[in-house]
Structure formats: structure tokens, C-alpha cells
């Protein structure tokens, strides 16, 4: 009998737990430890942030589902890792602290045979002075509560615009090393469309602010893609969309400070600039959760498990950009020191960024961090679950399932506006996610045909269809496993 503990019930943790439960007999225990009692379909937060969906449309409570499916659930947060146990506990464990109910604040040693760390990122607002959702007129759409607050503020601003107030809206990245430009891109297009629907578009100046070197970099070094019968660069595509929507842009911007209605940023040229706004949505930098790890004697072994995020089978040797290779990226998401610990989704430490790193004249790193979107998060979680199942069934440590982001495709269906007949979406697929410049030297490391983009109403329908399909899948309704990650 084996006990598998999954930390986190986001896309990665929930996918891993549900596949483990489906494929393993009931003699094996699957335990989920996660502080948020709800599962949320994060990509649809964009629509909560424009008031087109309510939080209840994108979430459901985990406890009843897990009870029904025989998954043990602890509404708690992991505090520290003890992969060798300690003087009293011979089994490896994580220390978890309950976050709700009568048990709130109590701590428990949750022992395991296998551990999946799927705790995603910490939304590191503190890394940018003054950046905090709901403060200084800045907002976030990273969680459903943030997105709901963003909509309340935006709705208020729309009312002011209707009363004749001219406004400035700023959307993009809130730190020199933020990632998730795709989410901000979706939000800016959705906000722009909402203003048109409310007939106040002419009352707002909308500006994109980003740490990208080029538009359409998306933390993936941009891409060359098929677009209809043409071949287009992602920066040309995004520029075309922004021009069409009357959106202005500021690039190479490392936001360092936010004051009430004023953002301070540094450019790659080393200049320090300011931008005023009435409403901003800025994606914070993502970091690890700051977990500590201890050995059997209580010695600090945090650096065996973490370098910010969790250490896995990547090549972390520091080397110049020219020497980066697709082989640096992990394949199994297994920790090299402890073979029974894995970290899929955003929880693993990437070997380096995907975009070319750049420093300002003052030495500030202004480079998008590598994104790990929903699809690779789900795929890596499923392959980790399959490898653990293989290890349990064959009583060995062989890992047969591999999935490097350098040999994996991703689809990004970016909403560009909500509406059954008036909506729009920018659909982009990329293969591979991390460019392989040796395999595809003439097409910027990507396979054309499998890397393509298209704009239009069908993209909105597809995004909406995915919303319903993935919530169906997450609820583990009949034949849920037939829906791919």
C-alpha cells in the first residue's frame, strides 16, 4: 500500500490527484493538501475581471468532490518539508497547517511514500513597492477574488466615463521579471471591447506596459507562425491587433514602484520614467513560496529541494544565453536528491528564462520569466502521476513517461472580447514551447504549421468551449479522462 500526497489543488495538483485516484486501487491512499477550499479555472478569471462571469461560474468546492471520489482532503498549507522524517517520525513527511475550521492553526505531520509538489507560484506583489491588488488603483486578475475586485473598480470607472470623465488605463506587467504576459494581453483586449460595448471607448486612453523586448514575446522569445497563407512574427500580429484597437504600448519596462495612480519604471536604456493612470491591472512577479526543508537531524537542506521553486531534473548550470539548449529543460520533474518527490506545473524551478535575458544600463534584469501555462501544467502533472503509478506497480524507480517543454506543444486561446456573436479570440498554438534551435534552425526554433495564429469569433467560442470542458473534467464527471490535458 502506498500513500501519495499532493500539495496544491490547482490545475497541476488536481490533474495529478484525479488521475492517481482513477488508476490506482483503493488500497493506495491519495491525499490532497491545499489551503483554498475551491477549485478555480484560472483562465476564466479574465471574464470575471470584466464582469461577464461571476466567481461562482469558474469555481466549485473541492471537499464534496474529493469525499465522493475517495481522495483524502486537508484544507491546509504546507509549511516545511522533511523528506527523511525526523528523530520521532521514520517516514518522510510535510508539515501542514490547517487554515480553517476548529483545526485552524494546528499543525500535522502528513507522511508520504510519494510527494507531488504542485503549489504553483506565490504571487509576489511585495517585490514591487506599492503593488497590491485594490491599492493605489492597481488590480490583478490572478485569482477570482482579485478579478472580482478589478471588475468593481472598472465598473466604477465606466460610470465616471459615462459622466464625461476622460481616463487612462494601464495594463501589463508589474515587475521587471514578471511572466504571464498572455493573461494581461487577454485582459487588455477584453477591457477595450467592454469600453466599446459601454460606448465609452473614446473616453479612455489604453496603454500596454510590459517587460518584453518586443510585442508578442509572451516570455517565449516570441514566435514565427503561420497566419493564414502567410508567415508572420508574433510581434507583427500583436502590433496589428493593438493598432486596430487603438492601444498604445510601452516595452522594455521594468516596473519598480507604484504610487496612487502613478507607475514608476526603468527602461533598458537605463532611463527612469513615470506613467499616470486611473485604473491599472499589473501582473506581479511569481516566486517560490519560501518553503524550508530539513533532514533527519533537523539540519537545513532547503538548497537540496529549492532554488526559489523546486529543483527537478533540469540542468541548472549557469551559462550564457548562446549556450542554452532545449536539453536544459526537465523531462520527469523529479527531484534529483529525493526520487519520491516531484514538482509539475509552475512549482518546478526552470533552468533559465526562454526569452533572451536583457539588463538595463543600470544593471537591472528586465526579462520576462518563462511562462508555464495551463496545458503544460496539466500534461506534466499527468506524466508525474503515471510515473508514480509505474513505480508503485513495478516496485522500481524507473520513469517511463517524459515530457519536456522542448518536446511539447501548447495552445493559447487568448480571449479578445466576450460575446456570442461579437466576441473574439486570438488563437495561437506553439510547438515546441521552448524553442529548439537545432531542430528548427530556420523558423526560430519552432515547427511552422504546428505554430500558428488566427484571430476571430471562433477563438471566443473555442475559449468558452474549453471553459466548460475543463470544468466538466475537473468535476470528474463521467468519462472526464477522455478530455485531454
Amino acid at each position: 500500500m502506498s500513500k501519495i500526497v499532493v500539495l496544491g489543488a490547482g490545475i497541476a495538483g488536481h490533474v495529478a490527484a484525479s488521475h492517481l485516484r482513477r488508476k490506482l486501487s483503493k488500497e493506495h491512499e491519495v491525499v490532497v493538501v491545499s489551503p483554498n477550499g475551491n477549485y478555480q479555472w484560472v483562465p476564466s478569471n479574465i471574464w470575471v475581471g470584466i464582469g461577464r462571469m461571476k466567481p461562482k461560474d469558474i469555481l466549485f468546492p473541492l471537499a464534496p468532490l474529493y469525499a465522493k471520489k475517495h481522495i483524502d482532503y486537508k484544507q491546509a498549507k504546507a509549511v516545511s518539508f522533511h523528506p527523511e522524517g525526523d528523530s520521532k517520525e521514520i517516514k518522510p513527511y510535510i508539515l501542514a497547517e490547517y487554515v480553517t475550521g476548529d483545526e485552524k492553526g494546528t499543525r500535522e505531520k502528513v507522511t508520504y511514500d510519494y510527494l507531488i509538489n504542485a503549489t504553483g507560484p506565490k504571487l509576489n506583489f511585495e517585490a514591487t513597492e506599492g503593488l497590491s491588488p485594490g491599492k493605489n488603483k492597481t488590480h490583478s486578475v490572478c485569482t477570482y477574488t482579485h478579478a472580482q475586485e478589478a471588475w468593481i473598480a472598472l465598473e466604477g470607472l465606466i460610470k465616471q466615463m459615462k459622466a464625461g470623465k476622460k481616463t487612462k488605463i494601464l495594463i501589463g506587467t508589474g515587475h521587471a521579471k514578471s511572466t504571464c504576459q498572455g493573461a494581461a494581453f487577454e485582459y487588455i483586449l477584453n477591457v477595450e471591447q467592454e469600453l466599446r460595448k459601454h460606448k465609452v471607448r473614446d473616453m479612455a486612453k489604453i496603454t500596454w506596459i510590459s517587460n518584453e523586448y518586443n510585442l508578442g514575446d509572451f516570455g517565449m522569445d516570441g514566435m514565427l507562425m503561420s497566419y493564414g497563407s502567410n508567415i508572420m512574427k508574433s510581434n507583427e500580429m500583436v502590433e496589428m491587433i493593438f493598432e486596430d484597437r487603438g492601444i498604445q504600448w510601452i516595452l522594455e519596462a521594468g516596473v519598480s514602484k507604484v504610487e496612487d495612480g502613478v507607475v514608476h519604471y526603468e527602461t533598458l536604456d537605463g532611463e527612469y520614467k513615470k506613467k499616470k493612470y486611473d485604473f491599472a491591472m499589473l501582473i506581479p512577479s511569481f516566486s517560490g513560496h519560501g518553503f524550508k526543508a530539513y533532514d533527519k537531524e533537523g539540519g537545513d537542506i532547503t538548497d537540496k529541494l529549492f532554488r526559489g521553486f523546486m529543483i527537478v531534473d533540469a540542468d541548472y548550470t549557469p551559462k550564457p544565453y548562446e549556450e542554452w539548449s532545449v536539453q536544459d529543460w526537465p523531462e520527469t520533474y523529479q527531484n534529483p536528491s529525493y526520487a519520491n518527490i516531484f514538482a509539475p506545473g509552475i512549482a518546478f524551478a526552470p533552468p533559465h528564462s526562454i526569452s533572451k535575458p536583457r539588463k538595463s544600463k543600470n544593471g537591472t534584469d528586465i526579462t520576462p520569466a518563462p511562462p508555464r501555462t495551463g496545458m503544460p501544467s496539466g500534461i506534466t502533472a499527468k506524466l508525474v502521476a503515471d510515473n508514480i503509478i509505474g513505480m508503485i506497480k513495478h516496485s522500481n524507480n524507473e520513469l517511463h513517461h517524459k515530457g519536456s517543454m522542448g518536446n511539447m506543444g501548447a495552445a493559447c486561446i487568448a480571449s479578445a472580447g466576450f460575446g456570442t456573436t461579437t466576441g473574439s479570440g486570438v488563437s495561437i498554438t506553439t510547438y515546441p514551447i521552448v524553442p529548439d534551435y537545432n531542430k528548427y534552425p530556420d523558423t526560430q526554433g519552432r515547427k511552422l504549421g504546428k505554430t500558428f495564429g488566427t484571430i476571430g469569433l471562433a477563438g471566443h467560442w473555442l475559449k468558452l468551449a474549453l471553459h466548460y470542458a475543463f470544468i466538466y473534467k475537473a468535476k470528474m464527471k463521467p468519462f472526464w479522462w477522455l478530455i485531454p490535458e
Binding site: M232, E236, E239, M240, I241, E243, D244, V326, Q327, W329, E331, M375, I379, L383, K402, G403, S404, G406, N407, M408, G409, A410, A411, I413, T421, T422, S424, S427, T429, Y431, D436, K450, F452, T454, I455, G456, L457, A458, G459, W461, L462, A465, P484, E485
Partner: protein, 44 residues
């Protein structure tokens, strides 16, 4: 120079009939990219 979205292109982007077929095409294309499999990069 920035490319522009032409009037004709905009019409095709928003026409529900054309977009219905595009939706089917897109769904299949996305499925091919996603279900197209994945693997390692080190021993290939």
C-alpha cells in the same frame, strides 16, 4: 510598417458562418497539437 486588418478580413473574422467552420477546423488543429504527444529531448 504595421499590418492592418482589412475590411474584408474583419468581415471574415466576425462572420458566424465562416467562423463556425473555422471553429471546427481550430478544434481539430488544437487537438492535433495537444494530443500530438510529448516526450524527452535528451535521448532522441
Amino acid at each position: 510598417m504595421t499590418r492592418r486588418i482589412s475590411k474584408y478580413k474583419r468581415f471574415t473574422m466576425m462572420n458566424p458562418i465562416i467562423q463556425f467552420f473555422k471553429f471546427i477546423y481550430l478544434s481539430i488543429k488544437v487537438l492535433i497539437v495537444v494530443a500530438g504527444g510529448h516526450g524527452g529531448t535528451r535521448n532522441v
